[in-house]
Amino acid sequence: MRHGHGWWLLAPVLLLLLAVFILPVGMMVPTSFRPYVPLVGITGGFTARHYVKLVTDSYYLEIIGRTLGLGMIVTGSTLVVGYPVAFFLARTRSRWRGWLTILVVFPLLLNLVVRTFGWIALLAQNGLVNQTLQALGLVDGPVKLLFNFTGVLIGLTHIFLPFMVLVLIGAIQNIPRDVEDAARVLGASWGSAFWRVTLPLSAPGILSGSILVFVLTISALVTPRLLGGPTYQVMSTLIYDEFLQRLNWPAGSAQSLLLTVMVLTLVYLSARLARRTGTSA
């Protein structure tokens, strides 16, 4: 198995990633330090003000805080909603199991814009959710569910739930059933067997599922844009506007690099943590 062809086979992919990924992303570093004059454009010189503004200006701080907050809340909600589903799908012997799993996978493959559009139809002023709430007499008038935190939270939870469930199914399937049975035989109630045996043993899956959902949430563009509208900004939509509307590429580059550093740091930390706990999750 010692052939010298390895690098030749890797060359196309490495060239592609170098020219169309690493180099372009790397070139944002010098851009992010260039001054920008409105109506004139990018000028020569060096400035760190785009970064300074990101960490001092309350407008940017609010957007960064909102992005991270959404990341944590969406991670928590997908975990709480998804864990029982993953537990069921991992343990059931039902012959429907394959198709039920496919039902979880289906939304993942369906076009993201289409899924988000479905939530617009559901959450609009006269949408199905508002109709139902009013018919049940739970609210007097239509509730504002779009273009705010609620809409974005529901949409992002829906979109990232399948990722969480699929990661958790893998983790729970790896736990031998015997361990739980042993706890029961030794007198543990179902609840304490779950809390003290099953749940801790699925911790690696919980960790990697949470990191995945968090990273995807803070990177998401389409759903926050369509359900949050132009005013409820997160980091991705801020970058989008900076590049396409305000044309302030230096500021947009600084914001992009900050988002990238946050994502890569999390991925790196989770990989290290997974290695230290000896799990390949």
Partner: protein, 263 residues
């Protein structure tokens, strides 16, 4: 025992509710696409196919569908070629720094799509490749190739390298052994990788939206901008077509290669 049964039924109820939640948006879109009203409403009022006719009669939509399919096909062919070669090199050949290469190949998976999009917007403007189809196709290859590498790697790890070795001993050249022995064995992985690649390219908004030149429009970006201007049932009609096609594709893929094993 009764407590266990109650628990079991509560769990099933929860699973049913969550699966309902997951499929709800698709169901609502399909229903809304048949409404006679010119605004979006669920349940639909009346029954009509005029929104489907409107979409299929709209040259912009038809062009966007053709453009997206063409782009996804070209990106997929490119990433399958490059991805299968890379996966083979990483699993079957000893490459110095293989772990680093594998990590690099996975990088576009976790990278924020919007960052890739704006980075290429700036880079292409600099090298005068902005608005070109080649630039767009290469960008789509970057975001799809990790899926091919992942699926093919999983497939390659499951087959015995001795089979290819035997072919070599019996006189087959390296490429002959690969194409006649190894490739047929990893076909499910290649098929799953190609399918993922096609879907990821066909779905993409965050990269495409920054790179589309004049006269270029992908379907998801078209729907995305249409929604920003205002929602109407024709968006529900085109979405319904995508829902039906995705369901059919998934059902076929599940039957053919056991798709859920590759997710």
């Amino acid at each position: 025992m009764t407590a266990a049964r109650v628990r079991s039924w509560l769990l099933r109820l929860w699973v049913a509710l969550v699966l309902g939640f997951l499929t709800l948006p698709a169901v609502v879109i399909v229903l809304a696409s048949f409404s006679r009203t010119s605004y979006l409403t669920v349940p639909p009022r009346g029954l009509t196919l005029r929104w489907f006719a409107a979409v299929l009669g709209d040259a912009e939509y038809v062009h966007a569908i053709a453009f997206s399919v063409g782009l996804a096909l070209i990106a997929t062919i490119g990433s399958v070629g490059a991805g299968v070669a890379a996966a083979f090199a990483l699993i079957r050949r000893r490459v110095a720094g293989g772990a680093g290469v594998a990590a690099l190949l996975n990088a576009p998976l976790v990278f924020p799509g919007v960052v890739v999009g704006v980075a290429l917007l700036q880079f292409y403007a600099l090298v005068h490749a902005n608005g070109t189809f080649v630039g767009l196709a290469l960008a789509h290859m970057v975001i799809t190739v990790p899926y091919v590498v992942r699926a093919v790697t999983a497939s390659l790890q499951g087959i015995d390298p001795e089979l290819e070795h035997a072919a070599r001993v019996l006189g087959a050249s390296g490429p002959i052994a690969f194409f006649t022995v190894t490739l047929p064995l990893i076909r499910p992985g290649v098929a799953a990788g190609a399918l993922f690649s096609f879907i990821v390219s066909f779905d993409n908004v965050p990269v495409s939206i920054f790179l589309l030149g004049s006269g270029q429009m992908t379907l998801p970006v078209k729907i995305f901008t249409a929604i920003e201007y205002g929602v109407d049932p024709s968006i529900a009609a085109i979405s319904t077509m995508l829902i039906v096609l995705t369901s059919l594709g998934l059902a076929i893929a599940e039957r053919w290669i056991g798709f859920h094993r590759f997710v």
